[in-house]
């Protein structure tokens, strides 16, 4: 099964980064994944976005017309992407900046003050990481623990001092979306892993 997430908003909202963390998390779960930016600094201004496709099979078509999840962090991207999600898709809306809401019955829109949560976590530019927490908590595309490890991997390696803020933002997202604190999740996951290992069953999802 193939699922796709689009992160959209202004440049400077950390969109590409959040997408990369999601992709890394999916890879760590042995899934296939493709990350594509709306590339080109040749394009100045306007809305930026990136897409992540997660799949059990090698990813085919790289362009997503109708994502499963749309993270929309500013008004133009809400206008552009929110209505494109598949039936029963999820829209994560940054209520701090976006007033409008999707007018479709078959979409679950999660509108949260993501920018404010990000500022609270330490930096408004962490807004995409907060959104990633929401995605992890509410869509199950990847495990929250995988995202946590991806953050450690990507951020921790280069800028360990920033990692704490990132994790806090991610945690804020999960909890705003009604999930349990990341610490708890990690503890549970570790226990589950432990059990799995004791059973000496090959780890990972079915092929």
């Amino acid at each position: 099964m193939e699922r796709s997430v689009i992160f959209s908003g202004f440049g400077g909202q950390g969109l590409l980064f959040a997408g990369q963390v999601l992709a890394q998390a999916a890879m760590a779960e042995d899934r296939e994944v493709l990350w594509i930016p709306s590339y080109g600094p040749e394009m100045r201004g306007g809305t930026a976005y990136c897409t992540v496709i997660v799949s059990e099979e090698p990813v085919g078509s790289p362009i997503v017309e109708r994502p499963d999840v749309a993270v929309v962090l500013n008004p133009p991207s809400h206008a552009k992407f929110a209505h494109t999600v598949v039936p029963n898709g999820v829209v994560v809306t940054n209520a701090s900046l976006v007033d409008s809401r999707v007018e479709r019955e078959d979409v679950s829109e999660i509108a949260l003050p993501l920018s404010e949560l990000a500022s609270a976590a330490g930096d408004p530019r962490l807004v995409s990481v907060v959104a990633l927490g929401v995605v992890a908590a509410r869509t199950g595309i990847v495990l929250a623990g995988s995202v946590h490890r991806a953050l450690v991997d990507i951020v921790g390696r280069k800028r360990p001092q920033v990692l704490d803020m990132d994790v806090a933002a991610f945690d804020a997202g999960i909890r705003a979306a009604g999930g349990r604190p990341i610490a708890e999740i990690l503890r549970d996951e570790a226990r589950a892993l432990d059990a799995t290992l004791r059973e000496t069953v090959p780890v990972g999802r079915e092929p």
């Binding site: 042995d30 590339y39 394009m43 085919g60 509410r138 495990l143 999930g179």
Partner: protein
């Protein structure tokens, strides 16, 4: 889609060790690991990260990196370094490739082995920076002046691109020829997990390379043969080499062809779209397979022709206005109906369009298979 908050049972640890890598960077690193001695380039979207990766990594490895003053500079620096028998990579994107036409012809004529990457964008002109395949003709024929053809390798995933980098060096050196690695903006810009397995082709003795004439007669690397008789003779030699490449270096991949009665012919990113479309089409009962040329020259024409004995029709899918189509038509010579679907200007076809095109083809070939 149901929201599942936590799924610790889906065990989280990867069985494989893979890294997430951007296509441009993966190509660059694969070249370094393949023993690339020198890189020359000039910034252009959507290829810039290839140059940037090289800017950082080549000096670390003590190898040569120059950001040239232009693509003309870059390719001619490549010519110089490669004439010394070094393993050289040059990269660009469509408009920059056009500027290399003259030097490509020179290198074909003077038999300089070099690998040139084109991360194609939408054209013509300044065009768009979206992904494209509109340089197919340029790569497979006609780019520079005069009679010559160059091997053109077209990956359709980042992992494959890495493999083909090493293969490109190998072919370039085995036949003393420039090789074009033809990618597109998607392959350059996307990130995919890749296995970090690299290959360094063995070095062949370069008894033609310039090293200084110390203790041996001087060598000349050149394409001028002022006497037409001599140039024709040289051209015959180039033709023989091309024949050898045709014999030995054709590459292609088939997917789901076993029971297929229709086939999509597509390469690069378009082939990925085809794969998704085929999956969908098969859900609706069509028996479709994928014929994916990996070498665009030499084109797998015999193989395609053979497939024509099995399938009822072909759909050529391109991110261009119908260029590979010519090679398919030349291979099939009317043996089977050929439909074409193409998008241009930086647009990537959607699987739905492709399925629709397959349906139209099916109708043309006599309706759904029995």
């Amino acid at each position: 889609m149901t929201a599942v908050a936590e799924r610790p049972a889906d065990a989280p640890f990867a069985r494989r060790t893979r890294v997430l890598r951007k296509g441009n960077e993966a190509i660059a690193e694969a070249a370094i690991r393949a023993g690339c001695d020198a890189y020359f380039g000039y910034p252009i979207t959507p290829q810039a990260e290839l140059l940037e990766w090289m800017a950082r990594r080549m000096p670390q490895e003590g190898r040569a990196f120059v950001q040239a003053e232009s693509e003309l500079g870059a390719i001619n620096m490549g010519l110089g370094a490669a004439a010394c028998g070094k393993r050289v990579l040059v990269s660009s994107s469509s408009p920059g490739m056009s500027l290399m036409a003259e030097a490509m012809s020179y290198m074909a004529g003077s038999e300089v082995p070099i690998v040139v990457v084109n991360v194609m964008r939408g054209g013509p002109g300044l065009g768009s920076i979206g992904p494209g395949q509109g340089d197919y003709w340029q790569a497979t024929r006609g780019h520079g002046h005069g009679d010559y053809r160059l091997p053109v390798l077209a990956p359709s995933s980042i992992g494959e691109a890495m493999d083909l980098v090493a293969a490109s060096f190998e072919i370039a050196e085995r036949y003393r020829t420039p090789v074009i690695l033809l990618a597109d903006g998607i392959l350059g810009q996307a990130m995919e997990p890749v296995e970090e397995t690299y290959r360094t082709p063995p070095r062949l003795a370069a008894d033609w390379a310039l090293t200084g004439a110390d203790g041996r007669p001087p060598r000349v690397v050149k394409s001028l043969h002022l006497k037409p008789e001599a140039l024709e003779q040289h051209n015959r030699h180039l033709r023989a080499k091309e024949a050898a490449i045709r014999d030995a270096e054709v590459r292609w991949a088939g997917e789901r062809l076993d029971d297929a009665d229709l086939a999509i012919v597509a390469y690069g990113t378009a082939a990925r779209v085809a794969r998704t479309a085929i999956a969908r089409a098969r859900e609706s009962g069509m028996r479709v397979g994928l014929f994916r040329p990996i070498t665009l020259w030499p084109f797998p024409d015999a193989e395609l022709r053979h497939l024509a004995t099995q399938v009822r029709g072909f759909l050529v899918l391109e991110m261009s206005a119908g260029q590979m189509l010519d090679d398919v038509r030349l291979a099939l010579e009317g043996a089977r109906p050929i439909a074409f679907h193409g998008r241009t200007g930086g647009m990537v076809p959607m699987p739905g369009e492709v399925v629709a095109a397959l349906h139209r083809l099916e109708n043309r070939t006599g309706g759904p298979a029995r």
